[in-house]
Amino acid sequence: MKAEGDIYVVHRLLDEQICDSEGRRVGRVDDVELSGDPPRVTALLVGDGLYPRRLPRRLARLARRISGPERWGANALRIPWEEVDELTSTVKLRKKAEDLGLGMGDDPAHWIVRRLPWN
C-alpha cells in the first residue's frame, strides 16, 4: 500500500518505525513535511534535532538547549516521499539506510567521529 490515496497522517504515519530496503530499523517518523493545496505529504523528517518540536513549548525550549538547533543533514534529515516504498506495519524505504544518511547512530565509526573534539 503506497499512499497515493488518502491516509490519516497522524494515525498511520507520524511516529511510525522506518525500515530501510534491507529491513533494518533506522529511525522513526519524527515529523512530516506537507505542501500544496490540498496539502500532500512531500517528505518524512527524521532525527533527534526534531524532538524539541514535538514537545510542549516550555519543555521544547529546554530540549533545544540540550540538543542544539536543527541542523539539516546532521541531526535532522529530510526523506522525500518518493523514497517511501510501502506502508505496512513499518514505513519501508526504497533504498539502503546509508544512501539516505539514516541509521548512522548504529555505525560505531560514526559514534567515534562525532565525539571527536575537533569535529
Binding site: 511516529d15 511510525e16 530499523r25 513499518t90 547512530g105
Partner: protein
C-alpha cells in the same frame, strides 16, 4: 507432536519465570501481616498480568509492534516520552533490586560480602546474555524458577485451615492504610510493567506471527496462571508460619524460612535456588526491557536476535543500564526497600503502558480479525480502571504508611 512439546516448554518457562523480588517480598509480608486476607489481591494481579500479557503478545505477533512502538504511535512523542522516562526509572529500580536480590541469595548460600556478589552476579548475567540465544535465556531462568514449587509442597505439609485460606480469596476491604498499601503492592508486584515490555519484545525476538497466537494465549493464561499459584503459596506459607508469632519479614532470606521449617535443609536449598533463578531472570528481563523501550521509542535497531554488531546502540544501552543498576544496588540501600519503591512507582507508570496496548489491541485497522473480542475488551477496560484508581492511591499510601513500615 514437536510443536506441542515446544509450546509446553514455553509454558513451563513462563511458570518458572513468573515471580520476581517484588512478588517474593510483598507476598511474604502480606502473609505475615494479614495472614490469608490478601489472597484475593494476588489473584486479581495474576489475572491482570495474564490479560495484558496476552494482549501485548497478540499485538506483537499480529502487527509486529512491541509495546513501546505502540506507545509512541498512540500517545505521540510528548506523552510517549513521559511514559519512557517513567518506565525507565521503574525498570532501573527494579533491576537494581533484582541485582541486590541475587547478591543476598548468594550471600545466604555462600556467606561472602554482599557488595562483591553484586558485581559477580552482574558479570554472570552479561556472560549468560552473551552466550545463550534469546529463547535459551528465558528457559534457563524459567526452568530454574520451578524449584520454587517447594512452596506449594510446603503449603500441603503445613496443612493450614483450608476454610480460612478459602475465605482469603473473597475480596475484603479493611480501611487501614497499611492494608490498602499492601493491596496496591501485591497487585502491582504481579503487574510490573517490565514484564509486558519484555514479553511483547520477546514475541518479536522469537519471530512470532499469527501462527503463534495459540502459544501466546497458553503462555499468558496457563503459564502465568500456574505461576500465580506460587504467589498464592507464598502468602499462605508466610501467613501460616509468621502471622501467629508476629514475624515482620524485612529481608529476602526470611522468604525461605517456611520451606526450611517444613523440609529442613533440602527445603531451604530448593527455596533459595528457586529464588536465585527467579530474581536472576527478572534482572535480565528488566534490564532488557529498559533497552527495548529506549530503542523502540527512538527507532533504533534492537534485539538479542540481531547480535551486538547489528544493534550496537541497543547493546550499549543495555550495558549502561546494567552499570546504573549495579551503582544503585551498591549504594547500600536494602534491596527490599528499593523493591518497595519500584513496585509502588510502577503502579504510577502502569496506565501509560497499558492504555496504548489496550487501544491498539482493539483497533481493527491494525489487528484485523485478531482485535480484542468481547472478553478481552471488557477485562481490559475493567483492569485499566483498577490500575488508574490504584495509581492515584499509590503515592499517598506510600507516604502514609512509611513504605509499609507501619
Amino acid at each position: 507432536m514437536r510443536a506441542i512439546l515446544k509450546i509446553a516448554l514455553g509454558i513451563i518457562a513462563a511458570i518458572g519465570g513468573f515471580l520476581d523480588i517484588g512478588d517474593l517480598v510483598f507476598t511474604t509480608q502480606a502473609g505475615a501481616l494479614f495472614r490469608y486476607d490478601l489472597l484475593w489481591a494476588v489473584v486479581l494481579g495474576v489475572v491482570g498480568i495474564a490479560v495484558y500479557a496476552e494482549m501485548s503478545g497478540r499485538v506483537a505477533a499480529v502487527s509486529g509492534r512491541p509495546v513501546f512502538d505502540v506507545i509512541r504511535m498512540r500517545m505521540g512523542f510528548g506523552m510517549g516520552l513521559l511514559a519512557l522516562v517513567a518506565s525507565t526509572i521503574v525498570n532501573l529500580l527494579t533491576l537494581a533490586a533484582e541485582l541486590g536480590g541475587i547478591a543476598i541469595v548468594l550471600e545466604l548460600l555462600f556467606d561472602a560480602p554482599y557488595g562483591m556478589f553484586v558485581f559477580a552476579s552482574a558479570i554472570a548475567l552479561v556472560v549468560i546474555a552473551a552466550l545463550l540465544p534469546f529463547g535459551g535465556i528465558e528457559r534457563f531462568f524459567g526452568y530454574g524458577g520451578l524449584l520454587l514449587f517447594v512452596v506449594v509442597a510446603t503449603v500441603f505439609h503445613q496443612n493450614p485451615d483450608w476454610g480460612d485460606v478459602g475465605r482469603g480469596f473473597i475480596p475484603s476491604i479493611d480501611s487501614s492504610t497499611l492494608y490498602l498499601y499492601f493491596v496496591v503492592g501485591v497487585f502491582a508486584a504481579a503487574l510490573m510493567p517490565y514484564e509486558v515490555h519484555f514479553y511483547s519484545s520477546g514475541a518479536i525476538e522469537e519471530g512470532w506471527t499469527e501462527k503463534n497466537l495459540k502459544e501466546n494465549r497458553l503462555n499468558a493464561i496457563v503459564g502465568y496462571g500456574i505461576g500465580g499459584i506460587l504467589s498464592v503459596g507464598l502468602v499462605i506459607v508466610s501467613g501460616y508460619l509468621f502471622h501467629p508469632i508476629g514475624v515482620q519479614p524485612d529481608d529476602l532470606g526470611t522468604v525461605a524460612l517456611p520451606m526450611q521449617g517444613a523440609f529442613g535443609e533440602t527445603g531451604l536449598l530448593l527455596a533459595l535456588g528457586g529464588m536465585l533463578f527467579c530474581v536472576g531472570g527478572a534482572a535480565i528481563d528488566s534490564s532488557f526491557a529498559a533497552s527495548y523501550n529506549l530503542a523502540q521509542f527512538l527507532g533504533w535497531e534492537w534485539g538479542r536476535y540481531q547480535g551486538p554488531r547489528k544493534a550496537p546502540r541497543f547493546t550499549a544501552s543495555w550495558l549502561v543500564f546494567l552499570l546504573l543498576g549495579i551503582a544503585i544496588a551498591e549504594s547500600g540501600i536494602n534491596p527490599v526497600d528499593i523493591t518497595e519503591y519500584s513496585v509502588v512507582l510502577a503502579v504510577v507508570a502502569l496506565p501509560l503502558t497499558y492504555l496504548p496496548v489496550l487501544l491498539i489491541a482493539g483497533d481493527r485497522s491494525f489487528m484485523d480479525r485478531y482485535a480484542n473480542g468481547r472478553i478481552a475488551t471488557t477485562l481490559g477496560w475493567i483492569y485499566f480502571a483498577v490500575i488508574v484508581v490504584l495509581a492515584l492511591a499509590a503515592i499517598p499510601l506510600l507516604l502514609a504508611t512509611n513504605a509499609g513500615g507501619g
